[in-house]
Symmetry: C2
Subunit: 348 residues, 2 copies
């Protein structure tokens, strides 16, 4: 596949059509209007993030996997939409937890409406996700409906555990983090909801057979790790290009592979300086993050992280071929391969 | 029934045994230990509120309703435990939203562990609630498992809408609230999860027949309103007796029936004073809540609220008899009647 094709993957007509169907499903199944003004505002808040521009990668991966295994879009549509809804409600809470200011090019929901209203709207949207999955009864049998629910339970479990790991490092001012800790956190926080579960759900709905515990796990972990490391890199170099604060991770004090390498490589004096800045309060980090950027440059930590991301990218693509070579060639399989390449090579 | 019996209802051996089973189920189904220290901390946080002393009213109502309709405890145990779990995770988020300091006699979870960790632990516990309900598959058929899930979906929907109404009044500094607005908020925020849904679930599991939309709604609404108004009254007069801050509602700026009456009855000058204090920041309210207490006394607002609560209590008991007179007399029916009386007459 030519690089150009990978970059334009999201413009492929099938991908665009899938995204349109998912967006339409979300808007249709979320509540529209309420005669009580206050509740109407809650409904607006719930539709806020889902209405902002997004790539809908998770739903795409789910739908294409379903198709590659011979399933049809209509059977997987509510499930795929619920994956995007999962991302939306959890981002509302993440943004409060991380004190993020921007999301998808606009103010974070709690900046628009206050923290208490945003937490509650996240809970309400979380409820709607399960409500969508309950509506799978209209198109799937009860057993499959419940198996899909079980996949979401595992995904939520992994994601909240990963999120807890990351948050507790920040809040306990923990710097003694090894690369392996970071990789476990990545798998839990990112790989499950971005890669593993979308693939598993597409497969489950297409084949109607119960999944094994490890199906798609190796592939999805490698893909998720590559995705997260590149996300960390982009966060440092991309400015406000993709709708978040420039160097937002540094300002939030997040532990990334880049920082782990930096701390391991830095001289004692530099390390002390880094810990002082990052271990200070938000204002401290806002005022001094450029010093950290310079040290990242000095110790080649971006380059290190890129190499690790490349390693996991390569491994993810090898795993992909191992799994999907067993299936007949199809347009959806090709698109899924391209989306995988797009995810691991992301420079968007 | 003698008043003494109503007061001692929670000490009845059947009620104590039900509570013991529910507590044991929650502790057994929540995750125990994890080899990663950080995740172990998350598990501790999830078990924190469920381990504090609580009355477990919602699970009691569910189990007794199930028994009164001829069902057995074992079929309803996971569902009843999930009701208590619902209360636990939503209280974690409520305490952040309301900036509460105490819960069940100890510091609120976010005071013990920071706001970000508490929000995430609430999400993780929320996930466990659905996980419990998925485990109903072990004891119920798939259709009933899904119908139980649907009852939880409605309950969560109503509760988050009610919570949103209350929060938005505070955050928009809205004082022009009528008694009817308050009653709608009460039904949504309190009646569904405290009364309506516990009864509906007990009935559903016992009879294995699909519920009508309105089953137990009138009864549960009246009961929930009576309960909430008395909760508001107790919050003002009970000091720290039941594990929350004294006059916490005033300090949080909550709109209660007492305040609605006060604002409607007060002279222009007094009303201005009240709005200045309650519409100020938290510190303003902390320093001046005693002035509000004096005005509540001056305008007999507590007495007014008590009369309305009595009206709804009476109506709830009448509704109870209308519904349950159709059932044969039983020990569980008697206990449920006593618990209903206990809830509406609460001075605990």
């Amino acid at each position: 596949m030519k690089k150009n094709n990978v970059e334009n993957i999201l413009n492929e007509p099938e991908i665009r059509e899938n995204k349109r169907l998912v967006d339409e499903t979300i808007q249709r199944l979320l509540p529209e209007k309420h005669s009580i003004n206050e509740i109407n505002l809650l409904y607006q808040m719930m539709k806020d993030y889902p209405s902002r521009p997004a790539k809908s990668l998770r739903s795409s991966v789910c739908l294409l996997t379903c198709q590659a295994y011979g399933g049809t879009i209509d059977k997987a549509l509510i499930t795929a939409s619920s994956l995007d809804l999962f991302q939306n409600w959890i981002l509302i809470h993440d943004d409060v937890e991380d004190q993020s200011e921007l999301r998808r090019g606009g103010p974070a929901l709690h900046h628009k409406y206050t923290i208490p209203l945003a937490i509650n709207a996240g809970d309400a949207l979380h409820g709607k996700m399960w409500s969508f999955l309950y509506h799978n009864r209209d198109i799937l049998d009860d057993e499959t409906t419940l198996l899909v629910i079980n996949e979401f339970l595992n995904m939520l479990n992994e994601t909240t555990e990963g999120q807890h790991m990351e948050l507790s490092w920040v809040h306990e001012n923990q710097w003694n983090i090894k690369q392996d800790d970071y990789l476990i956190m990545c798998k839990k926080k990112t790989a499950w909801y971005t890669c593993i579960t979308p693939c598993r759900l597409g497969n489950l709905i297409a084949t109607n057979t119960d999944l094994n515990k490890n199906d798609f796990v190796n592939f999805g972990e490698d893909l998720g790790i590559a995705f997260q490391i590149r996300d960390d890199i982009l966060n440092l170099i991309a400015g406000t290009k993709y709708g978040k604060e420039s160097a937002g991770d540094l300002i939030e004090g997040k532990r990334t592979l880049i920082l782990i390498h930096l701390l391991e490589s830095a001289s004692t004096k530099d390390r002390e300086n880094i810990e002082n800045i990052l271990g200070g309060n938000r204002q401290m980090r806002e005022q001094n993050y450029k010093t950290i950027l310079e040290l990242i440059h000095k110790y080649n930590s971006l380059q290190f992280a890129t190499e690790i991301a490349d390693k996991f990218s390569h491994s993810a693509l090898t795993e992909f071929d191992k799994i999907f070579d067993q299936l007949p060639d199809s347009r959806s399989k090709l698109l899924l391969r391209n989306i995988t390449e797009y995810i691991v090579s992301r420079d968007w």
